[in-house]
């Protein structure tokens, strides 16, 4: 089987029906039911676009995502760690992902996952209350947010102000029907972008259909 590199530790595998995979940091571990694939003695995990917005963005053609081996990442809305686990694969043992999740039921899964991955730093806290974790999170290279909340952009900006390095990068998932249910999805995205543009440089923006309904992933650069 053939491997084609997408970014650090992420590849397309297979010829006709291609599948996105990431290098498995913890051999034999499947985090959410994804398939494990061995190629030439190395193990990879399937990265399923229906389960992960970041994978969906890659399937939709986004390239040049500034996540690298050794990156330091702040991830807001980590849930049970589906996408976080792939970020952990990408950044490897020299990277760190600080994963913030507000819901303790989800947090339990995240904490259990962290016990198997030394680059995953779980934090049970509210991303709109930076004071809860400002002392334990360092400046980061990448800020990722997927929280589907009312003031999600305000929260993103505040966290960027506190934790994102100048010149750092980020991505925010916008649910086009969560901020205001009566607003058309198109308008919601446009409003989100104009709000983000006041603070960041938008480098890319991609609707995630058909993998994720009513979602857009917007990529930014910090100054």
């Amino acid at each position: 089987m053939e491997l084609n590199k997408v970014m650090d530790n992420v590849y397309w595998v297979g010829n006709n029906r291609r599948m996105l995979v990431s290098l498995n940091l913890v051999k034999e571990q499947s985090v959410y039911g994804e398939r494990l694939v061995d190629v030439k003695g190395t193990q990879y995990r399937e990265w399923i676009p229906f389960r992960s917005k970041l994978a969906a963005a890659i399937y939709k053609g986004v390239r040049g995502i500034e996540l690298h081996s050794g990156s330091r990442v702040l991830y807001l809305g980590a849930s049970s760690g589906t996408t976080v686990s792939h970020v952990s694969d990408i950044i490897g043992h020299n990277g760190q992902v600080y994963a913030v999740e507000i819901a303790e039921e989800m947090g339990v899964h995240l904490i259990l996952l962290a016990k198997t991955r030394d680059n995953l730093f779980p934090i049970i806290a509210d991303a709109s209350r930076i004071s809860e974790y400002k002392d334990i999170v360092p400046k980061c290279d990448f800020l990722y947010q997927d929280i589907a909340q009312k003031d999600q952009i305000g929260i993103f900006i505040e966290n960027a102000n506190a934790f994102l390095k100048r010149g750092g990068f980020g991505a925010i998932a916008i649910k086009s029907r969560s901020i205001d249910v009566t607003e058309s999805p198109y308008k919601v995205i446009a409003a989100a972008k104009s709000q983000l543009q006041k603070r960041f440089i938008i480098t890319n923006s991609v609707p995630l259909s058909p993998f994720q309904k009513d979602h857009e992933l917007i990529f930014i650069r910090n100054g």
Partner: protein, 246 residues
């Protein structure tokens, strides 16, 4: 922030403590509600499949026993056509498929397991009753166990419930239409399973729902803030308000 090598074990410990701190009896109650729901679903599915299987064997008999409890009671101990026919005073000749003794024995096992599921639901319900009453005596008295438990499941806890306007409590659990543009507010929330509402006539239901919701709100506040047991007073007041509705 200094650059010593961070260890994720410190974060794991801290996050684990945070989780433990946050978990409460509300979570137990929510899981019990889910268990009851899951069992009920399993029981329904098993019952329907059992009925279909028996219908295959003796449609003439089964068609007279559409009511669930009657069906189970009647075929338990009367599994063969001959026995059920004489129990129902009908003839045992049938257009159904002739099952073997072994087939029928299997159906008897299924009946037994369905009855076990029922018993299990009952014991979970009575345990839940004790848990809710001990922890939230006022809410328990005013709402009843199941409505109280479902409200807790829906809003996350009695704290959240105590901060909720009673107009919102009234429609909790009826938010299916939330993501549509329709302005029609949903009418029937969980509290419509309240004893005072299930028995009330259509015209009064809206008014009773308002009264019940406002007392649930009050009871939640008492349980959360003062933690005193004022359940008798609250219940009396609520009932007399309901009665005074003509």
């Amino acid at each position: 922030m200094e650059e010593t090598k961070r260890k994720n074990s410190d974060y794991i410990e801290r996050a684990g403590k945070e989780v433990k701190n946050r978990l409460s009896v509300n979570d137990l109650i929510s899981r019990l509600v889910n268990l009851v729901d899951g069992l009920e679903k399993a029981e329904n599915n098993a019952f329907e499949a059992l009925f279909d299987a028996y219908f295959l064997y003796f449609p003439e008999g089964a068609s007279l026993l559409k009511e669930r409890d009657r069906f189970i009671e009647s075929i338990r101990g009367n599994i063969t056509r001959e026995k059920l026919a004489s129990f129902l005073s009908i003839t045992s000749s049938s257009m159904g498929y002739d099952m073997s003794d072994a087939d029928l024995k299997l159906l008897e096992d299924v009946i037994k397991q369905i009855s076990n599921l029922k018993e299990l639901s009952k014991s979970i319900n009575s345990h839940m009753d004790a848990v809710v009453r001990t922890n939230y005596p006022n809410l328990h008295a005013v709402a009843g166990t199941l409505v109280a438990a479902r409200l807790i499941l829906l809003c996350g806890g009695v704290k959240q419930l105590s901060f909720m306007p009673s107009s919102k409590i009234q429609v909790l659990g009826a938010e299916k239409g939330l993501f549509t543009k329709s302005k029609r507010t949903p009418k029937y929330g969980v509290i419509y399973h309240h004893a005072a509402l299930e028995s009330a006539n259509q015209k009064k239901r809206g008014k009773i729902a308002r009264i019940v919701a406002s007392f649930i709100s009050l009871a939640a506040k008492v349980d959360y803030f003062s933690k005193k047991d004022e359940s008798k007073i609250l219940l009396d007041k609520m009932n007399s308000k309901i009665r005074s509705l003509k």
